[in-house]
Symmetry: C2
Subunit: 194 residues, 2 copies
Amino acid sequence: MPRVPATERRRQLVEAAFRVAARDGFGALTTRAVCAEAGAPLAIFHYCFASKQELLAELTEQTMSALFDPSRVELGPDVRSSLRAVLRAYWSTVQEEPQREPVLMALTQHALHEPGLEQIAVRQYEAYHRTARAALELIAETCAVTWTLPLPRLARMMVAVTDGVTLAWLVDRDSAAALEALDSFADTLAAHTL
Amino acid sequence: MPRVPATERRRQLVEAAFRVAARDGFGALTTRAVCAEAGAPLAIFHYCFASKQELLAELTEQTMSALFDPSRVELGPDVRSSLRAVLRAYWSTVQEEPQREPVLMALTQHALHEPGLEQIAVRQYEAYHRTARAALELIAETCAVTWTLPLPRLARMMVAVTDGVTLAWLVDRDSAAALEALDSFADTLAAHTL
DNA sequence: AAGCGTCCGGGTCGAGCGACCAAGAAGGGG
DNA sequence: CCCCTTCTTGGTCGCTCGACCCGGACGCTT
């Protein structure tokens, strides 16, 4: 084992944890599995992290930071095509890294029932809603329109759409149906502009 | 412990399992916790179930059977109000038994990564889509309209809406925002009629 | 080259897990 | 009445888990 600074080791372990959770499921995410995946002895773990919870918190943050960025999407000329572009961009990130969303969902699910981790799920969804809101504001600005519904509500709807479509896809892996649904949602949401 | 037929015991254990999962989270759903909740000795478990997986399968089936039934919803005069009625009826079942959806979602999540349980999640979502489709057909018939999108796609959208809204609500427990989102979705989906 | 803070790693502890067993109690049918 | 199926029960096995300890190796500083 090469000698490596602790912060770097932490990063390695977080990455290994992601791979384990993605490949074998959240239930298989044990300290032993993480260390084995990282090719490190078991005791490394509690040298780098005070507890497993600390790893989970960092794993969430790390995975969230790779989140979809709406400001890099090339918007269309009108609201409808812009919304499609945003949702399709989200979807392409899901397809590119099909493991990220399941891991994030499992982390949310886990955090909801784990004392001391609840706020992780809350911050996760605050970030989702912030992202959706930013995308909506960007579209309104670019296409020179105003939304006829309160922005927070539209943002919630958009997060619900992406979450819902993703969840169904996780189960049946019907990518075509997922993309169709997202496109149709883009059309329906576009109706809420003036 | 009173003497009780095995099938009845199974039912008791499934109910106890639901209470444990609802109260303490899916991670706390152990054979010991279930038996303790049912007030039964541990060995009862493997007398009634061949394995823990068998309990989980039955728990899913049992919980699904209490699912929302769209045929009992009083539809409105037009598509928009009918859709609102259906979604609001779904939401009221969520509010009445706020534990059911989290348990079902955790079961789905677990089934996705557990060999031999994957088909449970698939059947779960087939049931969801069937239910949504039935509701949409009922609305079309009652309001004498036709949908301008393929029924399977609309059904998928509806399931995505309910799942997405429910998921966000599990995190922030903002019931008002959830209901607003559902109402707005009803309005947008109603646009897809001729 | 000596010293010291940083990092490695084998080994282990107690708790909790799913699964199982053998013995015993209940109770209905012959 | 006894027997035999059905159900109950305490105990325990083998395993994995998170957490931890401590001796030792590294390598930078002085």
